[in-house]
Each structure stands twice: as structure tokens, then as C-alpha cells.
Amino acid sequence: MANNNVGPKRRVVGAHYGLKDWLAQRVTAVVMVLYTAILLIAFLSGQNFTYEGWAALFSQQWFKLISAVTLFGLFYHAWVGMRDVWMDYVKHVGVRLTLQMATVLWLIACAVWSVQILWSV
């Protein structure tokens, strides 16, 4: 096994062969569960949705921060999930790496944009 995994025969996959990403996916999931619960209760119990109320919520620094933390957690979560999907279905190494890099760039772009949105209110 060990001898097959060196040089040109080295298996190229995106995983770190460890617990880190598995755990990160779970932790970010729990963060998103909490954030979703807050937003869902606010939506279902709210009346008369106005711009003032919506913008006032997002103009507070603590809400910006927990939104940003949740969104960054989401992007990391999405990275682990998409990487798993590519690893399961795409056998060709070059194609898989390309797709993984595209995913990374896609998520970084989303992360930068979400910061801009949150701090422009």
C-alpha cells in the first residue's frame, strides 16, 4: 500500500485523510441550524415586513458578525460537501482537481461578496 502511494502513483485527492473536515462540516452545520432557527422564527412570527425593520436588524454590528460567521461556515461546509461529491463521481484526476479549484474560487467570490453586502448596510 505504502509503496504504491509515492511518486507518479501517488493518489491525488483533495482530502486530508483526517477528522478535520468531517468535524468542521458538523460544527458549521450546528451554527447554521441556530442561525436558521432565529431567522425562521422571526419570519413566521413577524408582521408588516418593512425596509426599516430589515435594514435595522442588519445594521447592528453583532448581527453583521453572526451573519458573517454563519455564511463563512456555510462556505466551508459547502466546500467539504462539494469536494466529497467530486471525489465520489469524478475519477479523472485532472478533471477533478479543476472542478475542486473552480469550487474554491466560486466560494471565495461568494465570501467576499457577502462581506461587502453585510457591511454596506
Partner: protein, 140 residues
Amino acid sequence: MSEAVREVPKKERPEFRNIHITELSNYRQPLAAIVSILHRISGVLMCLLLPFVLYLLQESLRSEISFAHYQGFITYPLVKLIILALCWGYFHHFCAGVRHLVMDTHIGLDKDSARQSSAAVLVISLVLTLLVALKLFGVF
């Protein structure tokens, strides 16, 4: 070794492989498998739709005018249905994820409870979507 033992024919051992995608329709998927593949599909779709959701968030926060624009936009029933489809994807992924978290703690791993929890995932995600639908269409 005696002749009798030597002549016992080798048993054909069954060989199990992953099923090919073209064979999928020949299999009756258990509920847990349906929940699992929907978890994947909803996850990939939501990842692809991230820019759309961020765009909606941006327009809802940008100004009173863009907010009013989108408030008008979502009065169309078709738009509400699209939002509901996204919500259903989110809720399904959400419920199936909570099921994963519970199973990670070694609860409900046997066949019967796994089937029951996957049925619960399908039901609860539909109920949550229904709640949002009632709210969106102004029932409460």
C-alpha cells in the same frame, strides 16, 4: 488430506459491486437512500444558487427602493413557487443534516429506526415548507 475433502467443489462466492448508474432504475430504493441522494442534490443545487441568494439579500438591503421593488416582485405566484422550491431544498438538507448529526452519536442506526427517521425527514421538511408557503401566501 483425504480424497473426499479434496474433491469438494469450490463454492461460488457472491461478488458485490457498486451498482452502475444505468442499473439504478432496477432497484427499489429504500427511503434512507432517497433521503441521502436528495441531500446531495439539494446541497449541490444550493451551492450553485448561492450567487442568486446573495443577490436577493443585496437587493433587499441596498435601499428602500430596491426593497420595495423586490416586495413587488415576490407578489407573483410563480416567484413564490420558485422561492418555495428553494426553501424545500434548504429544509430537506437541513432535516437530513440533523439526522446525520444524531446518527453520528450512534443513535437510531438500526434498520427500522433509520427508515423511520428518513420518513420523518421527508415529512418535517414538507411541513416546514408548507408553513412558509402559508406565510408567503398571507394565510397568517
